[in-house]
């Protein structure tokens, strides 16, 4: 997934080979990760796709089924992976992930500690940020989850950047051998305050810690503990509002309220892109008083809460 050697850079690797991981894109909300295998086929409601037809094709192109229907084959990115990975736990999404990576000041070469591993969604983004010389140490107390995460990292080709260990961070703390080596620490634990003293030990001075908690009571307790060793303690909530874009006929004449019932009735939140073409077609048979205008409005439904992100910087005492 990541171009950790210059030869593997996405822009250099344009043709699909046997054994590649690709994302099969049907619609923005229907995607699937597939490992290309010479004799294999992909079956969906549009028919059967032979993998052998895909080999040698450039990424980003259409491939057709036996029924003549197409899907796109895309290069995997951490974002696409987050959308398609199997959810073994509640995962972090793009807004939180982006903010965490930036606020933790993770750059190439950094050492990042993380607990728990969960489904490995955030770990993948950390790996992208520390590549090519840094490393992510991820801990989860759940043996099976850790194993599945390891398998996933093999599949996405980032296992050289992420080490997954089974460990109860709340109970045991981070391993001593990582003491004073971490540039950043990320906690996603039910009782993060229990892990804060150990996290402080792992961090380099001026290193940044982030704790993700869905409930404000968790934040409250974490902040109380943070105050003894950390400065710049700040808590945020970050959310995304998405917009639907449509070309709609607007009446520019004087006859208000005539036969335009289909404007709002036909709209469904967030189902923008695949409809707009038909809408465009509709707009052609415009009557004299109507013009087509491209307009945007927020989708009616959105994720209202994910978690609070608390950041803190380890005091510099030396």
């Amino acid at each position: 997934m990541l171009p950790t050697e210059s030869k593997k850079a996405v822009s250099f690797k344009r043709y699909i080979e046997d054994g590649d991981l690709v994302i099969v894109y049907e619609r923005h909300d229907v995607m699937k990760p597939v490992v290309v295998s010479e004799g294999d086929v992909l079956q969906n409601r549009f028919g059967v796709y032979k993998h052998s037809d895909w080999i040698g094709k450039p990424l980003g192109t259409k491939v057709f089924s036996n029924k003549g229907k197409f899907v796109y084959l895309l290069a995997p990115t951490p974002e696409l992976w987050t959308l398609v990975l199997s959810h073994r736990t509640q995962i972090l999404y793009i807004a939180d992930i982006s903010f965490v990576v930036m606020y933790l000041e993770v750059v190439p070469g950094c050492i990042v500690l993380e607990s728990g591993t969960g489904s490995g969604s955030l770990s993948t983004s950390f790996a992208r940020a520390v590549a090519p010389t840094g490393h992510v140490y991820s801990f989860d107390f759940h043996e099976q989850r850790a194993a599945s995460a390891r398998e996933d990292f093999e599949k996405t080709g980032i296992s050289n950047l992420v080490t997954v260990e089974v460990r109860d961070i709340q109970g045991q703390g981070f391993p001593e051998k990582l003491s004073g080596l971490a540039d950043s620490v990320f906690l996603d634990l039910p009782q993060p305050w229990l892990a804060v003293p150990s996290a402080a030990k792992m961090l380099k001075e001026d290193g940044v810690l982030c704790s993700f908690s869905p409930c404000i009571e968790q934040v409250q307790r974490t902040c109380e503990v943070l105050r003894s060793d950390f400065i710049e303690i700040r808590t945020f909530e970050v959310l995304l509002r998405t917009y639907e874009v449509k070309e709609v006929k607007v009446d520019t004449g004087n006859m208000i309220g005539e036969s335009h019932d289909d404007y709002n009735g036909g709209l469904r939140p967030c189902k923008r892109k695949h409809r707009s073409k038909e809408d465009g077609a509709v707009s052609l048979d415009s009557s004299s008083n109507a013009t087509s205008v491209v307009m945007a409005r927020p989708c009616s439904e959105a994720r209202g809460h994910t978690g609070y992100l608390t950041f803190a910087r380890l005091q510099c005492l030396s």
Partner: protein
Amino acid sequence: MELNKDQATMSENNKPQDPDPRFACEGCSVLLDVNDGDRLVFARLSGGAILKIGNKNYSLKPMIGAPFGSLFQVESGDEGSFLSRILPVKQENKSNNVIDDSRDNRELVDNNEAQNLTGEEIEAMRREGAKGDEIIEALIANSKTFEKKFQLSQEKYLLKKQKKYAPKVLLRRPFARSICEAYFKKYPERIGFLRVDALSLLLTMANVTAYSDVLVVDMVGGLVTGAVAERLGGTGYVCNTYKGNSPSSVEMVRMFNFSDKVIKRIVQSSINELSSAKTVSPEENNQQERVCNAEININEPSTSDIVEETSVTAEAMVVDIVAPESKIIKAPKAGAKASKEAIEMWQENGFSSLIMAAQDQDPWSLAKDVLPLLSCSAPFAIYHQYLQPLATCMHNLQQGKMAINLQITEPWLREYQVLPSRTHPHMQMSSFGGYVLSGIRISTT
């Protein structure tokens, strides 16, 4: 004084050829956080650099060689007041049971007679070399109302006085995050109102990582270029492209403490150069020549850069007082012209992703020219402070079947005050950080 000695040995240990990025060396760019985020000031460390707090100037010299994250406080000595490094006192977890505090503001009368100390008396204390903390103690002792105040108001009072009489300066390492925050706070229009959460989204959505070749259209002063270069860590390329003849300024790149290795990866090239076919027809040849002639003018915008920068620093109240020439270590200049080999490579393989942050430009008219420069399946993210042009751009990309997975998003960021029994969102927040259109380029054939 002992502290200063420590710093001297520290800077000696710091080999000049390989500076530890966690220490503030002479000549490097630093971010000064005055009074817990009240003011953020950029400075280039030198013996002569000055920070103005209140109506006094303070030399930044004590900061040279100190680790990033060190805290400084104003202290008075025989030769006036100066900045001195302080080590934070370990706070024991005091269980402040606020709920049981029954005091309130019923007896407070706003008649300006609460404080017995006069301004002259305070000034006299200062002249005699009283420390900030001592002045604050005197203020409390002479306040008629302090004891009657609710515990929270007492804390607020203390904080207010600390900021005035014993200001603290935190030495911070400039990162894309802090640079974006500092600009957003002070000059949001210069960065097109690009808030830090929106910037982080751009980097994520464009899959910026080591060894990638990222095409950017940066018309936000170099913030995006710098943020991308930070994630590349001296590998791959960030190529800043532009319409017409003059590249946009990327002077903000100098705020980052980039090594030469990273700086070398920041290049620029015009859209014409990048998109001209490999077999150059005479007509196109002419065009190229015109572009080349234009390149000579690159130096001109850079002189205006310098003017701009001094105005930034002057307004930020950092004055670089006549330091000996040799002592100033200039940051290397980013944004050299992309080499012919690099351009050929991009024409052959395409860029691995694109970020556009072009203020006052129509995103669609730019996107239709630069999207074809990407390799297929490459993700892109387009920033704009207005929604409508992005909506139009998205519509046109759909119609032209140039991209899939298109989405316009607007990040929303709220900060919280977290204190025992006093947790709530901040009373003031930024209500707008920009819009992002993201998608994946597909093959049109």
